[in-house]
Amino acid sequence: MIVIGELINGMYKDVGKAIANKESDVIQHLAADQVMAGASVLDVNTGPYSQNPKDDMKWLIETIQGVVQVPLALDSTKADVIEEGLKLVAKRAIINSTNADEAKMAVIFGLAKKYNTQVIGLAMDKSGVPNSKEKRLELAAAIVAKAMEFGINAEDLFLDPIVLPLNVAQAQGSEVLESIREFRLLCDPAPNTTIGLSNVSQGTKFRPLVNRTFLTMAVANGLTSAILDPLDKELMDAMITAELVLNKAIYCDSFLEAYRKR
């Protein structure tokens, strides 16, 4: 599993404040802690309140790269903010994200080609998040087709079926899980899949339990990556164990530790 650490996001109060006041130690701790806990990629999002997202994105990247050397997922709805970031990244980045709209895909895949990045593709379009797996599959297929037009390999795509909160869209759980499995069949070699996990537990009771249950089920359906909180140790343990059940790693009594030694 490719774990994308979600915590460097200006939407969180402390991170938003750290960005506004340029408190680099807060960001650097978050970066180092997430990598230590098993994140192999870090998501970077300046948040909705950033006054100057381009500068904030640049500052975040430089600050993070001062302590850890992992790929970054540049997370913004604005292509120019992403491009500013792409000029600075030390490792091959992931663009987070495009949706299935023609115009958006053209811009994002153009950037991906220019800067040799990977891309997260959201299975949604102008009309919003689909409510069936068929529609999700249709949009995912459009993303794969467009990526190929730009000469981007399927393995460099992370298709996201869009996870919705359990308490408001309960019927969507199984649609999403089945989508993950079917996305993998869209082409060969298969595209990667990802989910923004925390969304599933938004507004629910027992959030950590909901998160790790959903993640385990998603892993069983072939999920290859997730944007999540790697500091949630029980969540990470559940993920490691799920992969073990699928025979993706060799069992030993210290299997949790073995995974973390990788």
């Binding site: 790693a249 060799i250 009594d253 210290s254 530790e257 073995a258 030694k261 990788r262």
Partner: protein, 310 residues
């Protein structure tokens, strides 16, 4: 239409482990990034190596054919070691401290240390030193041996899941590498490696012994265990990325087919076992009969040069 072969690419190679000291002779074991001899898929920067095994006291139950090439030198471990290097071309020696075992005299470290030091002095080849096989005695003798050989960068054994702490601690303190053994069990192999590296032991100083069995005695099980471990290592399992050591000599010559038959059969038994283990991914073979060792070295040379292609 030509058939296109599927080629596997590995994302993480096997560790390279050095034995011996620079200035004298050093060998590097492991480092490969493909299944054995599949040079189209990756590299084998270090050819598999063959060590000759000697005992620190005269062997008690060796068959005639195994005694023949060594003659009287078997009575003198240092002379035996020199013969292995000078006459039989051994580039690595493995000394089994048989005399420390209760069945063979329970000799102390004071007895074996001078022998080992003389061997190092006379041969200057990298040394593997393994205990007599009695856990209790090994835990008394091996720490002293380790200390006496400090700085020689030997390969010490054998650590198991239930008996690794003493040896790992002492080898760590004295800068030696270690052999981690498991009973034909990939789960335990991984676990022993974790346990040893948890003590602060550098994973790049560990060799795995998956247990050796010989031709006709379950060799296939070892083969499949090694294959499984290797494939996991190549996709990034760091706790299985250690090179393999196999004691083919001692195992092959335990069999009745080797012991009781006319001369050539024992040698062939050892060769066949060794070659099969090379094809399973062995990086270091510990052998007994010099003719068998010589043949296996030739085999390695041929396959490393592309076999029939060249």
């Amino acid at each position: 239409m030509p058939i296109e072969l599927i080629k596997e690419k590995c994302s993480s190679p096997i560790n390279s482990v050095e034995i011996g000291v620079s200035g004298k002779k050093v060998v590097t074991i492991g480092g490969e990034s493909a299944m054995p001899f599949l040079f189209d898929e990756g590299n084998m920067p270090n050819a598999p190596r063959v060590a000759l095994e000697i005992l620190d006291s005269e062997p008690a139950e060796w068959p005639e054919e195994l005694i023949r090439p060594f003659g009287d030198s078997l009575k003198d471990p240092v002379g035996w070691a020199v013969k292995c290097v000078k006459d039989f071309g051994a580039g690595i020696l493995c000394v089994r401290l048989q005399s420390t075992h209760p069945d063979y005299g329970s000799k102390d470290a004071d007895h074996v240390i001078p022998i080992l030091k003389s061997i190092i002095k006379e041969t200057a080849v990298p040394l593997i030193v393994i205990g007599g096989g009695d856990d209790e005695r090994d835990n008394i003798v091996l720490p002293k041996v380790s200390q006496a050989l400090k700085g020689e960068n030997c390969l010490l054994g054998i650590a198991t899941q239930n008996n690794y702490k003493t040896l790992a601690a002492t080898a760590l303190a004295d800068g030696h590498s270690i052999i981690a053994e498991s009973p034909i069990d990939i789960n335990i192999a991984k676990q022993v490696n974790i346990l040893i590296s948890d003590m602060g032991f550098n994973p790049h100083k560990i060799l795995m012994h998956p247990t050796t069995t010989s031709l006709g005695y379950g060799m296939e099980y070892v083969y499949s265990i090694m294959e499984r471990g290797r494939l996991a290592a190549f996709i990034g399992d760091k706790m299985l990325a250690m090179p393999f050591i196999l004691f083919v000599g001692s195992e092959a010559w335990k069999t009745k087919e080797a012991k009781e038959a006319a001369s050539a059969q024992g040698v062939n038994w050892e060769i066949t076992t060794a070659v099969s283990m090379l094809q399973a991914g062995a990086d270091l073979l510990v052998m007994r009969h010099p003719e068998a060792a010589e043949n296996v070295r030739k085999y390695i040379e041929i396959v490393m040069n592309g076999g029939g292609k060249k």
